[in-house]
């Protein structure tokens, strides 16, 4: 009979709407990171590095990129005869069918999958954090403490604590109280959205809560297990962990990689992060290239200036072009003489000759101030920016734009252009 001690369920179905046009065509876990990776590579690599060899990936929102990226799990050695990686989209059932309506509901709809591995423990992960963590250590503590559920937590600044789900614990790590975004926090231990459950306990809870609309781990399942068993423990994590759920944190976390010795160092051999990539030629820096404080993906060709930036693979920066404080994803082309400052430019976008991105001063976004609230100019995948236009700060562009979209050659700060036409 098949038996796995612990399997992982990775929640990757969310849109990540606060990433704006970056997640217009793909789920957040598929968004590129660090010039080579996708966000989901971090939890997936953590799984294999922690000897968790069975992972269900729950997809729902725009799954194509994610499906392609994960495939049968070869880059993570997750192409296993028994176990390995399985993509779990919502599916039609003979009775009531529904989309995944909440994090716990998604897991509930896949009880059969979990049952088939007969696990003792289930690890619940989300696909939107950048970190390296040994889930095996967390499991050890879970077993040692006799917990029914263990929640990974990390200490945050007291001033920031009001933004998180806060866990109040006794001296032994046992959770005594939860506070969701408390005005006056009693603790600074924030939930990281990583849980280990005794499987039978989780199963019971999910069955019990099956009719709760939008059933969610933080709101419903954890409080239920807490109420029923009073054996919910915290596992304190003190390493690097970043939520890249907003444009600003996404940009900052990428930029940190370019520092001399980054806090999150991808160059160390320990705990390697694996990803799915094609074979590429090395990056090429031309005779007149000037590249400093930057990371440049394989297959890229740089003929201009690149400073404090993260470039993905097969990016082209033309002669006389400047890229400063920016993230360029795979296949972006910056034509001759263009200037790009403080921008996030998604896959395969072309920026025409002598265009200037990130000019002027901050203005409130006319599109969505909850999403766009920094100096960043954000351009979605497959967009085209024509030659010689000027684009302000805190802007959003998606689609193939032409000179007619830029009155007087401008997109003012805070402005946006969202086109529905075919992408490049």
């Amino acid at each position: 009979m098949v038996k796995k001690e612990m399997i992982a369920m990775l929640l990757a179905g969310g849109q990540g709407s606060r990433l704006g046009v970056l997640t217009q065509g793909m789920a957040k876990p598929a968004v590129a990171f660090g010039g080579k990776y996708c966000i989901i590579d971090f939890p997936l690599s953590n799984c294999v590095n922690s000897d968790v060899d069975t992972v269900g990936v729950l997809t729902q929102y725009q799954p194509l990129q994610l499906n392609t990226h994960i495939g049968i799990g070869i880059p993570w050695d997750l192409d296993k005869q028994v176990g390995g990686v399985t993509i779990l989209p919502p599916y039609e059932k003979s009775g009531d069918s529904e989309w995944y309506t909440g994090t716990a509901n998604a897991i509930y709809q896949n009880l059969t999958f979990m049952d088939s591995y007969n696990p003792d423990y289930v690890l619940i992960l989300s696909g939107d954090h950048i970190y390296k963590m040994d889930y095996g250590e967390m499991l050890e503590q879970h077993k040692r403490s006799g917990a029914e559920a263990t929640i990974a937590v990390m200490p945050v600044d007291w001033e920031e604590a009001h933004r998180y789900g806060i866990m109040v614990t006794d001296g032994n790590g046992k959770i005594t109280e939860f506070e969701e975004k408390p005005a006056n926090p009693k603790s600074n231990l924030a939930s990281m959205g990583i849980y280990i459950f005794n499987y039978q306990t989780l199963r019971r809870a999910l069955k019990e809560l099956e009719h709760v609309p939008g059933c969610d781990f933080g709101m419903h399942v954890i409080p239920y297990v807490f109420r029923e068993t009073d054996k919910v423990y915290s596992y304190e994590f003190n390493g690097y962990w970043k939520d890249v759920g907003t444009l600003t944190t996404y940009w900052e976390t990428n930029m940190e990689l370019t520092s001399l010795v980054p806090d999150f160092n991808l160059y160390e051999e320990f705990w390697q992060i694996y990803t799915s990539a094609e074979s590429h030629a090395p990056a090429y820096l031309g005779a007149d290239a000037q590249v400093t404080h930057a990371i440049i993906g394989d297959g890229s060709e740089i003929h201009g200036r690149v400073k404090r930036s993260v470039l993905g693979s097969n990016v082209i920066v033309g002669a006389g072009a400047k890229v400063i404080d920016s993230i360029l994803m795979n296949g972006v082309v910056i034509e001759e003489g263009a200037v790009v400052r403080k921008a996030i430019i998604a896959e395969n976008t072309v920026v025409g000759k002598n265009s200037r991105i990130g000019e002027g001063t901050f203005e409130q976004s006319r599109l969505d101030p909850k999403v766009y609230n920094s100096d960043l100019a954000v351009i979605g995948a497959g967009s085209v920016i024509p030659e010689g236009v000027t684009i302000g700060k805190n802007t959003a562009i998606s689609g193939v734009t032409g000179p007619e979209d830029y009155p007087e050659g401008n997109l003012i700060s805070g402005g946006y252009i969202l086109k529905k036409e075919e992408k490049r």
Partner: protein, 364 residues
């Protein structure tokens, strides 16, 4: 195409100035992220040859490691696949492969058990992009019984290659194998196309006569008996089995047009994929006309050079016209010019080594 591929990758080379001590020539890293054998393998995969055998012998560990999965080149596992044929002891033979023909003869079972009508044999130390479908089309059209892929001689050293003379129909009429000063318009690239059953017959004949060399004993000996014709290929071709040609080949890859042809244009050359992070350039890096592969970190100055995977260049160092293989560590204040640095070498702070551009220095 309906052919089985065989890559001869069993050789070392004394012309490599020690670079081939630890690996077969076919396993030599090329262009920052590739290995020599990737070119022969990709050309076969791109012609939809499904089954490819790589014959190894000399210093094969590195090569075996590189060929750890058929999927890097798109070969399957059931309908064909990637086969590694290593020398083996049998009740009939305790010999190593005594030559290229002997390597094939000792693996005759593999060739016999395949069903494809043709065999493409290629050496693993050539850097080129070749449309094998076109070779087959010309082979059939010209009525050749064996096709030998050739390149215009254009200054290539006769002593390193087979120099070939042909008649008006491109039939080979004379073959000067590695003779200094030999005259002829073409050189042999070491890529052959032949019907499988004909190959089996020729190899069995060769075996009966206790002969071991494919060129000398199968091709040259049969120039009159078989219609052996030259297929002249266009474009870039380089055999890397000498330190100087290896160096030149890597420097050639600094040309964007050549890289585009090999690594960007369909169908492209593929290789085993690593998981190193992208190359990183710190505040004082000054890099021009250089390739930098994954995992590389540059603090100093690099010019006209190829940095392979996970190379580190320290502060205030200057690297010019160099090829630094995987995991080379260049300390601070180092000057290197016209050098090939063997993998994992550590160049101590303050070292200064300036080689001759026409006779490159190998640091191993």
């Amino acid at each position: 195409m309906k052919a089985v591929g065989i890559i001869l990758a069993g050789g070392g080379s004394e012309r490599m100035k020690g670079l081939a001590d630890i690996r077969a020539v076919a396993a030599m890293p090329v262009a920052g992220a590739y290995r020599a054998v990737d070119f022969a393998l990709s050309n076969m995969a791109n012609a939809r040859i499904n089954a490819v055998a790589v014959i190894t012998q000399y210093s094969s560990r590195s090569l075996n490691e590189h060929l750890n999965s058929p999927s890097w080149w798109g070969f399957g596992r059931k309908q064909g696949g990637l086969y590694l044929l290593n020398p083996t002891i049998t009740p009939d033979s305790t010999n190593w492969f005594r030559g290229t023909a002997d390597a094939l003869i000792q693996n005759l079972d593999f060739i016999k058990e395949r069903h494809e009508p043709y065999v493409v044999i290629a050496s693993g130390d050539g850097v080129y992009k070749l449309d094998l479908d076109d070779v087959l089309a010309k082979h059939v059209e010209s009525g050749a019984q064996i096709s030998v892929v050739c390149k215009e001689k254009n200054g290539l050293e006769a002593g390193r290659f087979g120099v070939i003379e042909t008649d008006a129909e491109k039939r080979i009429i004379a073959w000067h194998e590695k003779e200094e000063g030999a005259e002829g318009e073409l050189v042999n690239c070491g890529i052959y196309l032949i019907r499988r059953l004909r190959l089996i017959r020729l190899l069995e004949e060769c075996k009966r006569q206790d002969n071991y060399d494919f060129v000398r004993d199968v091709l040259v000996k049969n120039l009159e008996n078989e219609r052996i014709k030259a297929y002249v290929m266009d474009g870039y071709w380089k055999n890397i089995a000498s330190a100087q040609s290896y160096f030149e080949c890597n420097m050639d890859m600094l040309d964007p047009a050549l890289r585009r042809k090999f690594f960007y244009d369909h169908p492209k050359i593929s290789t085993k994929v690593d998981d190193f992070p992208p190359a990183k350039f710190n505040d004082n890096a000054k890099v021009s006309n250089a390739l930098a592969a994954g995992g590389t970190i540059v603090n100093g100055a690099v010019e006209n050079s190829v940095l392979f995977k996970k190379v580190y260049v320290g502060d205030g160092s200057s690297v010019k016209n160099c090829v630094l293989l995987n995991d080379v560590y260049v300390g601070d204040g180092v000057t290197l010019e016209n050098c090939i640095v063997e993998k994992k070498m550590k160049i101590e702070d303050g070292t200064c080594i300036i080689g001759d551009p026409n006779d490159v220095t190998v640091i191993a």
